[in-house]
Symmetry: C2
Subunit: 454 residues, 2 copies
């Protein structure tokens, strides 16, 4: 049986050069939503592949008509089972001085035991953690084989992931997948994900004329596209409660059961920590049941961006001719994304027949994990070993596009071992990752590899 000290010693031996590798990969601005960063995506894939080779694995970069996917394998014993760990190496957009970033998002900095930069926690840090655990497992001659799938399109909804997966399928020997891109409940409470919401994203544009109009000469009789867009939003969702008003959408899923909400209530979810971590002053609800139901077990209709008309200094009393909103809907297990989009589209056009609705994101299906297997128990044991506390089951409100394709194409179970903390600013400014999560994560992985190998 591997001891914590053995692992600790190897972590100490490697820490310095690991952090150099971590810095190198984090400083590549692999922003998948911005075509200008395509070269950085390619560089990231190549650098990641060398990391796998460096610790004695084999790697392959699968190209697609979008971004590549890196696959790698560390074979410790051909007769032993194989764990495949999924992470993504693309990141959300970020710019210094914008949206709360007071650092350069692509300069890796360390303060005490915390690392700052875009991608430190979502999801390059967790990817490196699993890689370093594999290095230690190899050194300690743990017999489990370890594979990696590192995607570079997660943040844009994995539109070409299936294409790479079809190439990986003949090569992989994975018996199960571990996805490492989820978040704990609090810094003291690890979580294991039991479900993820799906996602559809689209743009709504209302165009009412050929040019800006004088609001004195035409105002009152001329249509106003910003106001009609506001009307569409209010027609689809109650802006205050978030309750969705799209006709028949409530027929497409089951409201969370009393039993599920009981579980959520007992999960250790802390309203105070949740608000502090996300810098939220006021939530829509004030009790754990309503909040967790809203973020984990109910669909959403969310507007991410809106623009129209004059937005410079002062005012300009024109009636603009067009306005656009970027929208998404999170979907819960049971909901069919295509059906949900059709209902939304119909509902919007029913209000404003001139609206143009364009899907601009891959469809992500919602996912429900199996929770009663022996592997679940072993993951719990491993996390307890790494962090001194067993994880609780919790749902995840986000979406990872690769999960359903992996589960369906590779026909293996998908488990979760998230390492990020809510305060790490997933998708937010001044993103960070803490050394204690890396260290505990390495220990958990090594222990899990050992538990599986028996």
């Amino acid at each position: 049986m591997i001891t914590e000290n053995q692992i600790q010693q190897l972590i100490q031996d490697n820490k310095n050069h690991w952090i150099k590798d971590y810095k190198a990969i984090v400083e590549l601005p692999s922003v998948s939503s911005q075509p200008v960063h395509k070269p950085d995506i390619e560089k990231t894939a190549r650098l990641a592949a060398t990391f796998i080779e460096k610790i004695g694995g084999t790697s392959k970069i699968f190209t697609t008509k979008g971004n590549p996917v890196v696959w790698g394998r560390i074979e410790n014993n051909p007769l032993s089972p194989t764990i495949c760990i999924y992470n993504h190496l693309d990141v959300q957009p970020a710019e210094k001085g914008q949206n709360g970033w007071n650092r350069d998002p692509f300069v890796f900095t360390q303060e005490d035991n915390k690392f700052y930069a875009r991608g430190t926690t979502d999801d390059k840090g967790p990817a490196m953690t699993a890689l370093w655990a594999a290095q230690i497992a190899k050194k300690l001659q743990i017999q489990t084989n370890i594979e990696f799938i590192w995607e570079l399109e997660e943040e844009i909804g994995s539109p070409n992931f299936q294409e790479a997966l079809d190439q990986i399928k003949p090569l992989t020997k994975a018996n199960s997948i571990i996805v490492s891109d989820t978040v704990w409940l609090t810094p003291e409470q690890p979580a294991m994900t039991i479900s993820m919401r799906g996602l559809i994203a689209f743009e709504i544009t209302v165009t009412t004329g050929g040019k800006d109009l004088h609001s004195g000469l035409c105002g009152g009789a001329a249509r106003n596209p910003i106001m009609e867009l506001a009307g569409i939003i209010e027609h689809c969702v109650d802006p205050v409660t978030g309750s969705i008003k799209i006709k028949d959408l409530d027929q497409t899923y089951n409201a969370p059961s009393k039993e599920l909400l009981d579980e959520f209530e007992k999960s250790g979810f802390s309203i105070a920590y949740f608000k502090e971590a996300h810098k939220i002053q006021k939530l829509r609800f004030d009790n754990v049941r309503d909040i967790t139901a809203a973020i984990w077990a109910k669909p959403t209709f969310e507007v991410h961006g809106i623009v129209g008309g004059y937005t410079g200094p002062g005012n300009k009393t024109v009636i603009p001719n067009t306005a656009t909103a970027k929208v998404s809907m999170r979907l819960v297990p049971g909901q069919d994304p295509t059906k949900a989009f059709e209902l939304a589209k119909k509902h919007i056009l029913n209000y404003c027949s001139d609206a143009v609705i364009e899907m601009d994101h891959g469809i992500l299906k919602p996912f429900k994990a199996t929770t009663n297997t022996i592997e679940n128990e072993k993951i719990k044991q491993a996390i307890d070993f790494g962090f001194g506390k067993k994880p609780v089951f919790a749902a995840e409100g986000g979406s990872i596009g690769a999960i359903v394709p992996m589960s369906e194409t590779l026909e293996v179970p998908v488990y979760f071992m998230g390492l990020s903390l809510p305060e790490d600013s997933y998708h937010g400014p001044n993103e960070s990752f803490q050394w204690r999560q890396i260290e505990g994560g390495i220990k958990s992985y090594v222990k899990y590899f050992e538990l599986i190998s028996k």
Copy 2:
């Protein structure tokens, strides 16, 4: 009695050098909303003053803590009445290649008998027309005295006009004011304005948190400022019909009477020409009564610009922390702008107590002209002389900030003699003015000076 031929001859004699002066003043980019153009504002004032001196008048430039106001007087007979003509010499912003401008907005060009550039019609062209008419009146020894008030802050709501007006008051001998900054109904139908709408403008900002949030982690429980702003808009106005929903606002004015709407219907307003002139495909209403009521005799709630969240390419599934809308309300005679603003504010805060509402424009009071005086009849006669067609009474949906202060401070009646056509693109791209409007305008003014002098 002056004949049309006498005037025509003098127009022909002067046309060439007049157009040079017109070009010179139009090519000064006197954009009052952009501080960078302050020197152009000053140059415009000085050039305009020389124009008055050149035809034998005296001029004075009154400074304010904002832009100056040019005042001038041509004294033809100290015992005769004085007409004071108001125009403004500042213009709306314009940039080549933007918002439909396919010309350089500050290069004066002539095509056939049409002049193009920002300010040709709003309002430098009409100002020059009145000036040239005064030159002819002097030459023909018409006994009426003529004054000019040329403002340089009209396009930003005349915030410092009162300061200049208080300096003009002891000097002016005006018995009435003519405002020349309004628009005909069609190229064949001159109009005399009987009322103008007032204006209040403000910004509404909703801020819900300290930073962008991950819509998967927080979506459902976290407030969405864009959606709440959309809710505020929908709470204030029906986005489709434009009908205002602000509580008690309907108590602050009288709905247009059947008699007034009858008059509007007979005014010669053409839906087809209105749509063509403003490049509007579809209006909120399809009949003259509803359309003219909406643009002339009812208040509006209009959103001019909105911005919030991610507006770059693709999508970014964040919940932003703030969103802002630029709004104005046009007000009809009888409405008190301060009261209307208070009602709007209360109504908005009632929906969203976190909304921040900031007035960002001078208050413009609505105005109702007197229509049953002898001067009205003489203006009608003069326009018939100049254009061969009597004007109809029509309301104006826009706002001219100087009108109520002039009427109240100088205690004289205000009349209107507009010369612009809807197709001339007031505030829009490729602004223009036609020679036929200048020529007819000169004839009308000269005739009016003669009619008044008797």
